[in-house]
Point group: C2
Chain length 338, copies 2
């Protein structure tokens, strides 16, 4: 385990009795090296345990590529985020690209710091889940020319690609589904309104009510619920309203969890309908199984990665705003009648 110096191209060149440039050619598989010499170089490299230094290479090379992209999500331990990361990673691997990952915690200052850390390391591009209401740092980075794709939430500034889900349409569909079952009092529980997704889902909820000819009851709307605890308190309050809501539309996965806890605690889970936005593991194992709007996370991640790579390759076509369809997965909780 001793710390001997990493061998360099010079070491290999010396051992193979050729110039560094020849080693460079062989290592990179470029033409211009005779088969004999090439073999001698490879042998020398092997015997020294030589490994190319991408840092040095990318510094000198004209395209300056680091074969690394940055991924900046809200919380890498959230199932949605980690599934997305994995999808990006898989696509990146096809290009021989590695992923520098970070969690912004929805904190503007963390987003800014991480952005700077990534820039400092000269990543080739970034896939970012923007902090709600704080895209100025992203815009600045973008204006410097850094290839960037926003996921889950679109840019509030121009000239940048994004990949999002059918938040509004799918939310409307969910609410209409409840209305069709006869629900007249459908509550909305949503995450922070600074998040575009939350706004869209709320709008979809409103559209659903309107299409169904239902009157909006503002006392059945609770937003800015950050985390399951806030969702629990809100659910408890909603259930105290008169008339009591017969169905809940929970617009984010942690909110869904909080609402479920309360329904269960009050033994209302078989009586009050529930549709959640975002699928989650074991949703099908609960009783009743939970009806959800499922995003196509692998598709979101893949598309985002493909867009950054296209931009990295120099694609200058107009910005793309890809929208990946989500699906209503009927499992039971959303099929409870009033």
């Amino acid at each position: 385990m001793d710390e001997r110096r990493e061998p360099t191209m010079r070491d290999v060149a010396a051992l193979a009795r050729v110039s560094v440039k020849t080693v460079s050619r062989v290592v990179n598989g470029l033409p211009g090296a005779g088969p004999e010499v090439a073999e001698r170089v490879r042998a020398a490299a092997r015997s020294l345990g030589y490994r190319p230094n991408l840092t040095a290479s990318s510094l000198r090379r004209s395209d300056k590529r680091s074969a690394t992209i940055g991924v900046l999500f809200e919380d890498l331990s959230n199932p949605f985020d980690s599934a997305l990361l994995r999808a990006v990673e898989d696509r990146a691997r096809q290009n021989g690209v590695l992923v520098l990952a970070g969690s912004s915690e929805d904190e503007p200052h963390l987003q800014r710091e991480l952005l700077e850390s990534l820039a400092t390391r000269r990543v080739d591009g970034m896939v970012v889940m923007a902090v709600g209401g704080h895209q100025d740092a992203l815009q600045q980075e973008r204006e410097r020319g850094t290839p960037m794709v926003l996921v889950d939430r679109p840019p509030t500034f121009g000239g940048t690609d994004s990949v999002t889900t059918t938040n509004r349409d799918s939310s409307r569909e969910a609410v209409l589904h409840l209305a069709e079952l006869g629900h007249r009092h459908i509550a909305f529980l949503g995450d922070r309104q600074t998040l575009w997704t939350s706004q869209e889902r709320y709008t979809g909820y409103l559209e659903g009510l309107a299409h169904a000819g239902l009157k909006l009851r503002e006392d059945l709307v609770r937003t800015d619920l950050k985390g399951p605890d806030a969702a629990e308190r809100a659910t408890a309050e909603l259930l105290a309203r008169d008339p009591r809501p017969t169905a809940l539309f929970t617009a984010q996965n942690l909110v869904t969890v909080g609402a479920m806890r309360v329904l269960r605690a009050r033994d209302l889970h078989q009586r009050v309908a529930l549709i959640g936005f975002d699928d989650f593991p074991l949703a099908d194992m609960l009783q009743p199984a939970v009806t959800v709007v499922r995003q196509d996370v692998p598709a979101l991640g893949r598309k985002a990665a493909e867009l950054v790579f296209a931009r990295i390759e120099g694609d200058t076509s107009p910005p793309v705003h890809a929208v990946v369809p989500a699906t209503l997965v009927r499992r039971g909780s959303g099929e409870i009648r009033p």
Copy 2:
């Protein structure tokens, strides 16, 4: 969004009418720059939008640090892995270090490739969840002097730190818990036996039986279950045995999920006891709530990160094999009597 060249220290130096070295001093907050000059430099840097190039800096600097570590887990979308990643990330952030993350998929060739990708990028150290039975590539990397810590599974070679859980003891505790309730026929369902964790948990199961004076029924042992589907089939088979097991010990989270599905499908979930290794979201929301052995994932990740950083700093003390205690969380499914 135009692609102007990133400003360099030279540009800043020229604008501030000082030498590059002075800019370097100011940028890195080193002494040896008068307050006036320093301010001039900062102003120039700001007006040009200068950002240091860590790639170039780390190439030249004597310690060669990239302020980046590699994290190589089995599957970044697995809740256990992603929670671990997050813990490592949080600890790394305290050191101003970023994380290059990859999934090995438990594939030796992927592990090898990713290892090489990380080495090529000259990460300062690595936190690795070793592919079962294939640690040769890790050993080679380690022998080159790369600071490395194994998590979840210990090294099969010497001179390397590791952080693991009380797999064996906690498994024994789980089995004893079932035995104390009166269970005599306790089945074991485990993941791939190439994984050290699986072996340990199986050994703990055996110890539990032995301590309780129960006879091992080999027909109640199923190993090498990769993923929920394999677990489902195995569970179905086990439930056909005579006498039927009255309790299941499922030694990995996906295995637990598979077993639960079958118990539920046969309406046995209230009659057959179940304890799973690894906690998972919503385990408390199922009926019955699922009794699990919970690992302290944040502690695992933090400890692993701290160990790599110590090694990066040059700590040459003997290898550490930290063991983080897991806890039996009694929720109901493990308290069902035979």
